[in-house]
Amino acid sequence: MTAPGVPASTGRGVRVARAVLVVVGVLLIALGGYVLTQTVRPNRYGGLLVWLIGSVIVHDAILAPLVAGVSLVVRRAGRRVRPAVLAIVQTAVVVGAILSIVVVPEIIAKARGTKNDTVLPFDYGARLGVMWLVIAVLTALVATAWVMLARRREARR
């Protein structure tokens, strides 16, 4: 008998696919664990565990709530702004933030010193600044163009 609320798979195909996926998945996880024990010394496991848990904490407890908070404030602040313009600005911020996430460690790595001059050869900080400037200009252009087109459309009605 199936208890209420128990996820019941429908159809033989789905049941078989799920069973195969779970078995293969568990085997692969076990293989990963085995490879780890064969190649990494046990005194390193603690550090690895800290970094694994730490990466989740940094995301779930710091990064994600921050983004959720910002988006809530934008939702409130955006009451007089057209939804499309809001979407354009949000896109710009998301793009800039993600590029910054990729580039900031690069700036730190370069500041710490590299093995030779062909590793990290650029001034990444300056380039990141230019990128934010380009994003700001592009966003302003696209948003302005959008508003002008929308007004023209509305005036025609």
């Binding site: 996820p7 798979s9 996926l21 780890l36 779930d60 709530p65 730190i108 093995k115």
Partner: protein, 459 residues
């Protein structure tokens, strides 16, 4: 506790965060993870082959492309993974935390999956910057975690399969006004997938009925009447958080309007798409010459370095500044008891071969260059090496993981493999392996041994 979790869940809910966006991003991410696994395994076995393994030497750019794809796909995963986690973030605050064994499996597999994926992307990215701030060996952990990631991904897909199939197609996910069709019991995810499958079957049935009755269009009900919600009545938000939430929600009366929801959803997917395109376009120039003009943030730049080519290990780091410049340097080539030694002048006096071959680093950067030197097959013929010979090459380096390199017969007998003396029209720079280095088609840069000292036939 329940109130807190519910409050958090409601506070972070948003029209862009639904099972359809999770499916759209999830399948892209899944495909890229698989690409990373396969290209990663190829790179791994090139460096640590089993005895029976043979690899293609043509096209000569095979490894250049496979490793470039590995790194670029990994970088593309960063915005996609962040977007995916954003789409499913409210699921973190389910109540009760665990309701059913399947859900325990689900949450455990997700925890493992998210942790290992985040760590894999972070360490992989920082490895391309040659920055290692963690207390464990990069290469070994990167390799082991790749299996854990794909394994927990398989479990995750198994758990979510009904929801994934339910929201695979856009037309099953949104009604005529473009509003997301909730899985029944959205606040009760343990039940959601169960109802989702039933709903899909019902939807299919309705579609078939619609097709059957296309001739006589009947007045249709716009959306299926929602069945009784989960047994838990939704408690309203109380306290400070509730007040803040109301302040935000009353800001725009039309927040729930289908048109606005559509814009917000498309804006979200558009932002993730542009961000993915952006990080790829501005970094992939290190691996793909076509994108080189856009290479603003790649950790390497083609054409930069001695002989117009970047380097990794310097002569100073390898401690060969003296031995490599020694005028008495000789390359010793041996096959059992037959052995011959060649001075730099001897090698320069032999028939030279010209090849255009890429240097492709495991860190993803690569550059195709012009090489000139003695063909390895000519050299090995002088000591009567057999066609199936495996070779062992040793560098002047005193220590280092790649001081000794083994070469399978597929590379040893390939006419394109050179003992290179010149690079891009000049004598090899000491940073590139003066007086002689090996360059073979389709192998990782770490196996293109610099500062050659001996070549031996091994059986």
């Amino acid at each position: 506790m329940r109130q807190l979790l519910f409050t958090l869940r409601t506070a972070v809910s948003s029209p862009t965060r639904n099972a359809r966006t999770a499916t759209v991003l999830g399948r892209l991410l899944g495909a890229l993870f698989l690409v990373c696994l396969l290209t990663g395994l190829y790179s791994h076995f090139l460096q640590e082959p089993a005895a029976w393994m043979r690899f293609p030497t043509r096209p000569t750019w095979l490894y250049q492309v496979s490793q470039g794809v590995h790194i670029t796909a990994g970088i593309a995963c960063i915005p996609l993974l962040l977007g995916k986690l954003w789409a499913v973030f409210p699921q973190l605050f389910q109540y009760p935390l665990v309701r059913h064994p399947v859900q325990l499996l689900e949450r455990a597999s997700i925890a493992l999956f998210v942790a290992s994926s985040l760590l894999q992307l972070v360490t992989g990215l920082l490895n391309t910057y040659q920055w290692y701030p963690w207390p464990f060996p990069f290469k070994q952990v990167h390799f082991a975690l790749s299996f854990v990631i794909i394994g927990s991904l398989a479990v995750h897909i198994a758990v979510k399969l009904p929801l994934i199939t339910r929201y695979w197609r856009a037309r099953d996910s949104y009604d005529e006004r473009g509003v997301f069709v909730e899985p029944d019991g959205a606040l009760d995810p343990a039940r959601a997938e169960h109802t989702a499958t039933r709903e899909l079957a019902a939807l299919r049935g309705r579609q078939e009925a619609r097709v059957a009755s296309r001739r006589r269009p009947a007045p249709e009900s716009p959306a299926p009447a929602p069945a009784a919600r989960a047994s838990t009545p939704a408690p309203g938000l109380r306290g400070l958080v509730g007040r803040v939430a109301r302040w935000i929600d009353t800001a725009r009366e039309g927040d729930g309007e289908p048109a606005r929801v559509r814009v917000s959803r498309r804006g979200f997917l558009g932002a993730i798409g542009v961000a993915t395109g952006g990080v790829v376009a501005l970094t992939a120039g290190q691996s793909f010459a076509v994108l080189s003009p856009l290479n603003a943030f790649g950790p390497r730049q083609a054409g930069l370095g001695p002989n117009d080519l970047p380097i990794n290990r310097t002569a100073a780091a390898a401690k060969v500044l003296e031995t490599a410049m020694d005028p008495d340097w000789q390359l010793t080539v041996s096959n059992g008891s037959r052995s011959r030694a060649f001075t730099a002048a001897d090698l320069e006096g032999m028939t030279q071969g010209d090849e255009r071959l890429p240097i492709s680093c495991v860190e993803g950067w690569s550059q195709t260059a012009s090489w000139r030197g003695v063909r390895l097959v000519d050299l090995m013929a002088l000591v009567g090496a057999p066609a199936d010979a495996r070779l062992k090459m040793t560098s002047l380096e005193e220590r280092g993981g790649y001081r000794v390199m083994l070469m399978g017969p597929e590379y040893a007998t390939d006419p394109a493999t050179l003992v290179a003396l010149e690079l891009n029209g000049e004598r090899l720079d000491i940073e590139h392996g003066y007086p002689a280095r090996i360059i073979a088609p389709g192998r990782p840069g770490v196996l293109q041994t610099k500062w050659l000292s001996t070549i031996e036939v091994v059986r």
